[in-house]
Symmetry: C2
Subunit: 248 residues, 2 copies
């Protein structure tokens, strides 16, 4: 982005500007999904939009900058789903289950979003992007962590959970995050069938359940029908997304 901040634009221009930026990202995401990172070309974005390349470069300083903004959108999208989950009324561990639904739904319903997150995390694209975007990304990640850590603390507060002294709430959050992110990564890029892993999404959920059982977070998984709970949560909170997810 060259100097959009310093410019004075009429409201109409401003709106058009934002609309175009949205369309750029829309097209970029589709191309990224179809052709991957290496196959994403600025010229192609431009021609698909029927604009010239120079115009794209008024919005974003580089190809990596486009990807970075897509990543910000990604985390914001997930944040939105997680926020819904965190407001579910139930015992803290049920709300963790709701988070599980949110994250799984996110990966399955928006695979191209998730893909962007992986790309960002794999290579040092960050350096080539506007610092303002980097800060937005970190801020989003902070809020994501905050939601989970908040629920963990709730669990502690209500007495359902007592963490051992060697594990902080942040570290437990980090554990669930790792399991979820790592699992999704392996799923979306691997050949898990050949490795003998069936139903990998269920596996992620169940591993998290076992982890929480290990921490003795009440109610334990055998004291409550969590699969049922999660089905209910999915219908209750995310019915708008469910139709588009295969076999959910």
């Amino acid at each position: 982005m060259v100097y959009s901040v310093a410019m004075n634009r009429s409201p109409r221009k401003e709106r058009e500007w934002k609309e175009r930026e949205a369309r750029i990202l829309e097209v970029a995401r589709r191309l990224l999904r179809e052709h991957g990172y290496l196959g994403l070309k600025m010229d192609e974005i431009a021609s698909e939009m029927e604009y010239s390349k120079g115009t794209i470069y008024q919005h974003f300083s580089s190809k990596e900058d486009v990807i970075m903004e897509l990543a910000v959108q990604t985390i914001e999208k997930r944040l939105e789903l997680m926020a819904r989950a965190s407001e579910y009324r139930g015992r803290p561990r049920e709300r963790v289950a709701a988070l599980g639904v949110a994250v799984e739904l996110f990966v399955r319903r928006f695979p191209d979003y998730f893909r962007v997150e992986q790309i960002i995390r794999a290579d040092s694209i960050r350096d080539k992007t506007a610092p303002e975007r980097q800060e937005r990304l970190i801020s989003c990640e902070l809020r994501c962590m905050g939601i989970v850590t908040g629920i963990v603390r709730d669990g502690i507060a209500t007495g359902d959970l007592t963490l051992p002294e060697f594990l902080t709430p942040e570290q437990l959050t980090f554990g669930m995050w790792s399991l979820s992110f790592g699992g999704s990564s392996i799923i979306t890029t691997g050949h898990l069938g050949e490795l003998g892993v069936e139903k990998p999404f269920e596996a992620i959920i169940n591993n998290i359940q076992m982890l929480l059982d290990g921490l003795n977070w009440k109610p334990l998984s055998h004291e409550m029908d969590y699969p049922k709970t999660m089905e209910r949560i999915a219908e209750e909170l995310y019915s708008d997304l469910l139709a588009d997810v295969p076999s959910f």
Copy 2:
């Protein structure tokens, strides 16, 4: 690689060929570490080696092919560390702990190796590489999984572990793999300090311990001093690597 297979070379030539290939990969890895995926240039590899680019292309068909071979080396290296761990004499869960040591050591001692693995997993580089290399990669991954799954089955066989009907040995392996891979990914590319996560490597280990506790895998974490065990394992099996790992 153009036609190296069909050629008939003298033993000396053959040796030189292999040595050069090793040097290519060595240089490539260093450049990858220093400049990232985008900053890795075939011309630079060539000039650093004091060879011409064409020669590099006699060994590898594309830049992605170089990366792919680095990835194969990566998994082979980890496989080697894991194989050592799997031969540790002790109860199955202790051997899982040994695996934990292996994997953590791997990520910390060879961060650039791990980085390659991430790159491979993030983007569709695979398509542009020699199928023979892809098969070697999958074969290595299979053996890695096999080692872990084998220990899980040992645990079941000895009666230390009884898996719930909703979790197969492969799924548990997948869970630990996810936790470890995801955690390492987030560590090596994130800014975890700002997110309030202290000692992330310990956190990974502890989360896995809680997971195994949740499955009631004997001896439970409070029935045995696993940290001590792991220290012993590190000294016993990996003393050759320990010196180079900061704060281990």
